[in-house]
Symmetry: C2
Subunit: 247 residues, 2 copies
DNA sequence: TCTTGACATTCACGTTACGTCATGGTTTAT
DNA sequence: ATAAACCATGACGTAACGTGAATGTCAAGA
């Protein structure tokens, strides 16, 4: 009970060309070849095709699929895990793009023309690096001194209260991760966040924005907020951007 | 103040080859060409490159970018909106793939060999269609009568309570969208959901699973749950799958 | 001035996973 | 016998460049 190309192709919902190609690259050879040169596939071949298509659905390259099917000792689970990671990254990237598109649309609507600088922000690596450095410098040079001066002026009670309030704000926000950053409750929490920062120093809008950026981009910050929830850094950054837009 | 290929390339963080290519396809022509055949780009060209790269970051094809930059009357916002949709779809698809990978890994761990049939489920369009149809038929034929019989037997008070409880369950779930579907609280809510369904009829595990499927795939259902939250349909389906696995 | 190294140019093939003719032989059904 | 439907093998096209290869040009140091 062998299949011809068309038969197997119809069965598996691919085109004959696909089978030709898989033969050509050695991924799926016919089980036999007739004297007329026709390809014939048996059930074993059909099963292999199923597996190929299965992995293909998972978006693996034919090379990878070949490797998986070739070695019986291959660690399929590890491979799938790794691939899962890759997919997650793609999703992250796509979410970033959607963010950017949303911002762009907002700008278009507001007739606020984005300057080329703005357009490039977040895309140009150098600009990015400079931006972060500036934020760090702003946060560092002027501010750190001011911050430690203010902090020292507080009583132990004050300090405990301030830290508790800050923590509460972050926990509140963690419960609103599924909302729109523009949501009134979220923005109210951002107001409390702003107050919390002001307990240390007086941040300019740019510094606030820089903080949001750092929360998302700088590993040490990101790790802290990710500990609260994996989506926290991105959410915070969006909420901060929104908050500063509204100031 | 003109740039050579290398200079502009470095500035924009692309390779010279990219500029060659953009010239070749007419997307970005040099502002002038020297007697030696060298390409020279002025600031206008540089700006255009910025815009090209901006749109490229949004994952638009060079063709589309060319169209956008060509026509001043082009509806950029509409284009971006459409592209946003496309990105969302990709994300949906990627999430689907991740789901499948997770299932596959589970099967691998449990040494439960997936039959070819199982492997194919969800990929084969025909199987898919048949599955949905069966779910609809099950839900329809036997069940609808039973459902309306039970419903009529309730008092107005009962009805109000049942609806309120159901609504509450969905709202509870909406606050747990960021959790794992296997989370204890989520699964507890799924238990309440099950009870809610049982107020109408006695669902078999397959029917429950079919419901989860329908919530995600059938537009009318999906629209209802998306109104609660965009991620609700997918989350519900995963939670239901998990719940039924545990029954 | 000569040489060297960094830059410039134009081919032109490689990449992925097939789609799409083109040309010609084979099988099957009428 | 003839047409329809299938088979085969090239071979080019796709998107957006990467990667040589062969060769010409320019700025700078010995």
């Amino acid at each position: 009970m062998d299949y011809t190309v068309k038969q197997l192709a119809d069965l598996a919902d691919v085109t004959p060309r696909t089978l030709h190609y898989y033969d050509e690259i050695g991924l799926l050879r016919p089980s036999s070849i007739g004297e007329n040169g026709y390809r014939y596939y048996n059930d074993t071949a059909a099963l292999r095709l199923q597996q190929i298509l299965f992995y293909r659905e998972l978006d693996l390259s034919l090379d990878e699929i070949g490797a998986i099917l070739a070695s019986a000792g291959f660690d399929v689970e590890a491979a799938l895990h790794q691939h899962r990671q890759a997919l997650q990254q793609r999703i992250s990237r796509l979410n970033h793009l959607i963010d950017t598109i949303d911002n762009t649309i907002q700008h278009l609507r507001g007739e606020k023309e984005m300057s080329t600088q703005e357009l490039f922000q977040g895309f140009d690596d150098e600009t990015q690096a400079r931006y972060e450095q500036e934020a760090a410098e702003l946060y560092g040079a002027e501010t750190v001194r001011e911050s430690s001066r203010r902090w020292k002026s507080y009583t132990a009670e004050d300090k405990a209260r301030i830290m508790a309030e800050g923590g509460q704000t972050y926990r509140d926000l963690a419960h609103m991760l599924d909302r729109d950053p523009a949501d009134a409750d979220v923005q109210a929490a951002m107001g409390r966040w702003h107050q919390h920062i002001r307990a240390f120093y007086e941040p300019t809008p740019d510094i606030l924005r820089g903080l949001g950026h750092a929360y998302e981009e700088q590993p040490e910050f990101a790790a802290f907020y990710e500990a609260i929830h994996p989506d926290m850094p991105g959410f915070l950054r969006r909420a901060i951007d929104r908050y500063v837009d509204m100031l």
